[in-house]
């Protein structure tokens, strides 16, 4: 682990430049002050009770020096920071638009090509992207450390950010603005594909990510969906309650709903829970689960259920 | 170098001379008025922003307000400020009876203001206008509500001061509480001077 995360976007290098300059200036001043402080504290430590000290009340020259030099440095730093900021805030004309919606506690991405993904953002290497962002409920913040980009997303209004991904790979997306219980689980991935790989992804149909995945056995596909589509943000596999009930031993379980009715978690119940979560709320939980209608195909829901069945 | 003649600092209480106490109270009061300005400030800032954002909403909604009632209330409050000021001068000249009566008139005016406001609010509720109707009315209710709260606090303070005045506690040598009560009351007036046009006239 280096002290600074990998620089994986066109902006990262520039931000790192500012960061480096500030770090150097800071280290300089810190070392200077500490060295002088320690030197004085040792050199002039009290040896006798009746030591005489000179009556020095100040010195204008010094006063001016240590006002003017930091001032100049600070103004330079401001300008440098501003120049890079301006860059970070001005998307190029040819950027492709991807719409991001943040809601408690998922990311949805809508692409210019009509595709839609959940918690996974696919972008093409070296192609500028403009993210147009909006929240459904409360504030969130879209943050990719390796790209050095961050922007809050707000309900009722669009905000934007842009970048050119320069390295192929998978990087974390964090929600950086506190948004409630699931804030720390509101994670995503940005997957930077080489132009060739991106074209293949673009041609893939539906929401499955490629033929390779669909050919998995259902339970394994279900597990993959569980991780990719963000079920893991709220449902644990080990019996602990995060935000929603754990999936452990869920299948066949009986329980009580908020409205007092009791239920058995059979296939139909699970399908309904995923497509219309607000209809039947399990007792003791909040109605916060988003509907996955239009996000998970029927095959995928079947796969999830197959996966849940394996969790005894 | 000033001379120290402060031997009277001995003893059980802070022996400040009445003049010193007067200076101290007055500065304190003005500082307090400064915080009051900032307290209303948040609402004024919100007003400025939302008015600039939604001029039509403000224009439309303010027509629901009753200009006449607002104007009447403005006159009542300005008049009460006059009587309060006269009360202060009266007590400074040692005229306790006049001062007491003037404060009484001020209080009556304050009550009158409250009565008018009561009818105004009542009329709003009758038209199903509540604080959550729209942002203009949110501001209207919060600004006038906070102002009303100040009026009530002022009335309570003036009530006490009036009783003490009639009891003869104050005179030309010592009139600090009357003056402080006066400053506070004028501030209440001052805030209304802005609220009236902002809410009733140029919504």
């Amino acid at each position: 682990m280096t002290w600074i995360p990998e620089a994986a976007s066109n902006l990262a290098g520039k931000v790192d430049g500012v960061l480096l300059v500030i770090t150097l200036i800071s280290i300089f001043f810190f070392v200077l002050i500490s060295a002088v402080l320690i030197y004085f504290a040792v050199k002039y430590r009290r040896r006798r009770e009746d030591e005489e000290t000179p009556y020095i009340t100040g010195n204008e020259t010094f006063e001016i020096i240590w006002t003017v030099i930091p001032s100049i440095l600070l103004i330079l730093l401001f300008v440098y920071g501003y120049v890079v900021y301006k860059d970070m805030r001005t998307p190029p004309k040819d950027a492709v638009d991807i719409t991001v919606t943040g809601k408690q506690w998922l990311w949805t991405f809508d692409y210019y090509n009509g595709k839609k993904t959940l918690n996974e953002l696919y972008v093409k290497q070296n192609v500028p992207v403009r993210m147009i962002m909006r929240a459904d409920d409360v504030l969130h913040s879209f943050f990719i450390p390796q790209f050095r980009v961050k922007q809050d997303i707000l309900p009722g209004r669009y905000t934007q950010l842009w970048f050119i991904p320069t390295k192929v790979g998978t990087f974390d997306i964090f929600c950086a603005e506190y948004c409630g219980t699931g804030h720390s689980a509101m994670l995503g991935k940005v997957i930077v594909l080489s132009p060739e790989a991106y074209d293949i992804w673009e041609k893939g149909i539906g929401m499955d990510d490629g033929a390779a995945v669909s050919s998995l056995p259902p339970a394994e596909l279900g597990e993959k969906i569980y991780k990719q589509k963000g079920c893991n943000a709220c449902h644990s596999l080990d019996g602990s309650v995060v935000i929603g009930p754990s999936f452990k031993g869920l299948f066949g379980r009986t329980g009580v709903l908020e409205n007092g009715k009791s239920y058995t978690a059979d296939e139909n119940y699970l399908i309904a829970s995923i497509y219309e979560p607000q209809e039947e709320i399990v007792e003791g939980f909040q109605p916060v689960m988003p509907s996955f209608k239009g996000i998970l195909s029927e095959n995928e829901v079947d796969a999830v259920i197959a996966f849940i069945k394996t969790l005894k | 170098m000033e001379q120290a003649n402060m031997d009277h600092a001995e003893g059980h209480d802070l022996h400040l001379t009445p003049e010193q106490e007067y200076g101290i109270s007055k500065l304190g009061m003005w500082l307090f008025l400064g915080t009051e300005i900032m307290l209303f400030g948040g609402l004024f800032a919100a007003y400025a922003i939302f008015r600039a954002k939604y001029p039509e909403m403000f224009l439309e909604s303010h027509q629901e307000l009753n200009r006449e009632m607002g104007a009447v209330n403005t006159c009542i409050l300005i008049f009460s400020s006059l009587t309060m000021a006269i009360g202060v001068t009266a007590i400074q000249r040692g005229k306790q009876m006049l001062a007491g009566i003037m404060i009484l008139v001020t209080i009556i005016c304050g009550l009158g203001f409250g009565v008018v406001k009561y009818f105004e609010y009542g009329a709003k509720f009758a038209h199903h206008i509540y604080p959550d109707t729209n942002i203009f009315f949110s501001l209207y209710f919060m600004m006038t509500g906070l102002h009303m709260l100040h009026v009530f606090i002022g009335l309570a303070v003036l009530g006490v001061i009036m009783v003490l005045t009639f009891k003869g506690k104050f005179n030309e040598k010592y009139s600090t509480p009357v003056e402080m009560g006066g400053l506070y009351w004028h501030l209440v007036d001052l805030v209304w001077i802005y609220l009236f046009p902002l809410l009733y006239l140029v919504g």
Partner: protein
């Protein structure tokens, strides 16, 4: 207590002054109400605020005796107003220079 005990002499404002100020306030109130029936477009609020500020100034200077106060009182009377302008000014600046991508 070092704070100069000299000139603690109070200024007592005469009843006459108060009456004059009051009449002025009433006239100005009438003026704002009257003007509000006319339409000066954007100027409406400016006029209203100028009139209100004159009134407020009169209340502060005479009813509240600010005219006869020392510089510290003036400072503490004016500084909050400056801050208020700052608060309003900067929030407005922010609100109306934002960028909306769509």
């Amino acid at each position: 207590m070092s704070e100069h005990t000299h000139s603690q002499e109070k200024h007592i404002t005469s009843y006459k002054t108060y009456f004059i100020v009051w009449v002025a306030l009433m006239v100005l109130t009438f003026v704002t109400v009257y003007i509000s029936y006319l339409d000066f477009g954007q100027l409406n609020i400016v006029i209203a605020m100028v009139v209100a500020s004159i009134k407020a100034g009169a209340v502060a200077l005479f009813f509240m005796h600010l005219k006869f106060e020392d510089s510290i009182t003036w400072l503490f009377a004016l500084f909050p107003i400056a801050l208020l302008f700052l608060l309003i000014g900067m929030t407005i600046l922010d609100t109306f220079t934002r960028i909306f991508p769509i």
